[in-house]
Amino acid sequence: MASLDRVKVLVLGDSGVGKSSLVHLLCQNQVLGNPSWTVGCSVDVRVHDYKEGTPEERTYYIELWDVGGSVGCASSVKSTRAVFYNSVNGIILVHDLTNKKSSQNLYRWSLEALNRDLVPTGVLVTNGDYDREQFADNQIPLLVIGTKLDQINETKRHEVLTRTAFLAEDFNAEEINLVIEKRYFLREGNQIPGLPDRKRFGGGTLKSLHYD
């Protein structure tokens, strides 16, 4: 019976985009004070009441598997990472809004996780065209999250947000853009402004990860 309550969600993305901070925010309701590079995979658990308030209310444990590393790693690291990709219920793709490369790498991340290799028979496919059909029969829900929205100049925000909207469409995924603020010196000691975003996030998209 316990296995029915398990929901495994992968959190993928380039190094330094803020996956660990995001997972920490979701599970501990706090901002991560001292982020450091993730080696291997770090897991955290969030308790979620599905269909709260209704008679069918159930408590789920959502496991957020934060897999560290980069797409251009040595193939030995990639093979090791592949062990985490089994029986996944959902994928969260995280990219940095200030870093275009991290958004482009999301394609490779998703292909790696969905076990469709970019190098199927040893033939190198160039990083140019992307085939939307590869995701057409994908059953696993995807969520694209862009971080560090506050670090983008006000004037450039519209342009960046349009670009990311196309990205989310390519994946046929839901999209959220976040501000996760980290402060080294907490002067006032009051709540971190990222929390209001979290409330919005908590209500809205987790429903997309649940399916019967």
């Binding site: 330094g16 599970c27 982020p35 450091s36 590079w37 080696v39 291997g40 995979c41 770090s42 897991v43 955290d44 658990v45 969030r46 308790v47 444990y61 496991e63 598997w65 040595a74 193939s75 030995s76 690291v77 093979s79 090791t80 062990v83 985490f84 010196f185």
Partner: protein, 445 residues
């Protein structure tokens, strides 16, 4: 790029540095410092090449040598240490207010130890004054030569170890699967503990909200006796989780290592692999010979007088009877040889530094690390100029001797041999221990 072009584009940057103050964006400053150090070090190598090829006027070459040397010393002894101290101090919150003062203090401490470094070594002839370029160069040379010897010693031993497939441990599919299973089990244990923590935290949170304010005398007594056991358990579970996470990281790295070894085994069965394996045997012979020569040099107190190029030409002329234009060939061959030495040492150093940087950097300390690497790189390159003198024929050596002043070059070569020997022997010991320890952990017999 011509030397003049390189110099003129860098000089405005330096001026910008000194006038812009300390309120600039930090990352930019660090990048510029590193690039400037690299640029001036490469200029030195360019000048050696010009020396051999005879480009530019002799007196103008001398002038450029002197100027370049002066600037590089300025960077290595004043700028980089000062900025390193400044960034270290900026990371410490307590001293944040008086950064400038503390970084000056740090720099003065550095200068003190730097000066003291010269005492135990017989590196200067007594006729030099206290404030001369030779004082600075000699000390920079000691540090740089030590670094070079350490890296060469380790490289000389590590290179055959990596190339030769004799040392490859036998890895099977079953080994990898076992490790992977252990890794997933560890992750499951972490998850179950975190579930308990999440539930416990939720219970405390809910209990906290529902809990009524103690009213009256009895209420207060009651609140004292009702204990909250959740928080103590949480710390205990958190400790267990931390230990398990550390274990999972180690298992991950070991699995990646096994995959890498398996790939190398497959690679060694291909043509390219066999070729590199063959090279590996050659390298190991070369390294053993170098270690042997270093020992001989130390025991018999011998320093080579002639460079390999001239000696090689002498041998061919005397023993093989082949007559050819010594001057012409010695120039070209020494150009190629010195060029190869320069390029491989730059490349090798940059690769090592990059690996080192990725291994130990974090978001806070990356500035300090890049500056330390710039310092190491600068000192390394200055000392390689010192040592390269030995590989050049006499007529090209004179300019280095003139520019660097009357240093005890023989001492540096002896010091290099000693450190090289020590480094090579300790690397052999280290690799032997590492090799022995790994198979016992998770191999099938």
């Amino acid at each position: 790029t011509a030397h003049g072009g390189c110099g003129s584009e860098v000089r405005p940057t330096l001026i910008y540095f000194f006038t812009s103050g300390f309120s600039q964006v930090r990352q930019y400053v660090v990048q510029v410092i590193f690039s400037v150090t690299f640029a001036f070090s490469c200029t030195m190598f360019e000048l050696i090449i010009f020396e051999i090829l005879g480009v530019l006027n002799s007196s103008s070459r001398y002038f450029h040598w002197k100027m370049n040397l002066f600037i590089i010393l300025l960077i290595l002894v004043f700028m980089v240490p000062f900025y390193t101290g400044y960034f270290i101090v900026s990371n410490i919150r307590l001293l944040h207010k008086q950064r400038l003062l503390f970084s000056c203090l740090l720099w003065l401490t550095f200068m003190y130890f730097f000066w003291k470094l010269g005492d135990p070594f017989p590196i200067l002839s007594p006729k030099h004054g206290i404030l001369s370029i030779e004082q600075l160069i000699s000390r920079v040379g000691v540090i740089g030569v030590t670094l070079m010897a350490l890296l060469s010693g380790f490289g000389a031993v590590n290179c055959p170890y990596t190339y030769m497939s004799y040392f490859l441990r036998n890895v099977t599919e079953a080994d990898i699967l076992t490790l992977e299973r252990r890794l997933l089990q560890t992750m499951d244990m972490i998850i179950s503990k975190k579930k308990r923590m999440a539930v416990a935290r939720r219970t405390i949170f809910q209990r906290g909200e529902v809990h009524e304010k103690p009213s009256g005398f009895w209420g207060m007594i009651r609140s004292v006796t009702v204990s909250v056991p959740g928080s103590e358990n949480l710390t205990l579970i958190q400790q267990e989780v931390d230990a398990l996470e550390e274990l999972s990281r180690q298992l991950f790295l070991e699995t990646a290592d096994l995959y890498a070894t398996k790939e190398r085994i497959e690679y060694s069965k291909t043509f390219k692999g066999k070729y590199f394996n063959f090279l590996g045997y050659f390298f190991s012979i070369y390294c053993v010979w170098k270690i042997f020569m270093a020992t001989i040099n130390i025991i018999f107190d011998r320093v080579g007088k002639t460079d390999p190029v001239t000696r090689g030409i002498e041998i061919t002329v005397n023993y093989l009877g082949i007559q050819f234009d010594v001057k012409f060939w010695s120039q070209h061959i020494s150009f190629i040889l010195v060029g190869i030495i320069i390029v491989t040492s730059i490349r090798g150093l940059l690769i090592t530094l990059t690996k080192f940087f990725y291994a130990i950097s974090s978001s806070k300390s990356s500035n300090v690390i890049v500056l330390l690497l710039a310092q190491i790189m600068g000192m390394y390159f200055v000392s390689s100029v010192l040592l390269i003198r030995m590989s050049m024929p006499l007529e090209y050596r004179t300019i280095i001797t003139e520019v660097l002043g009357e240093l005890q070059f023989n001492f540096y070569h002896r010091w290099f041999d000693v450190i090289f020997l020590v480094s090579a022997l300790s690397s052999i010991l280290f690799l032997y221990l590492a090799h022995k320890q790994a198979p016992e952990k998770h191999m099938t017999p």
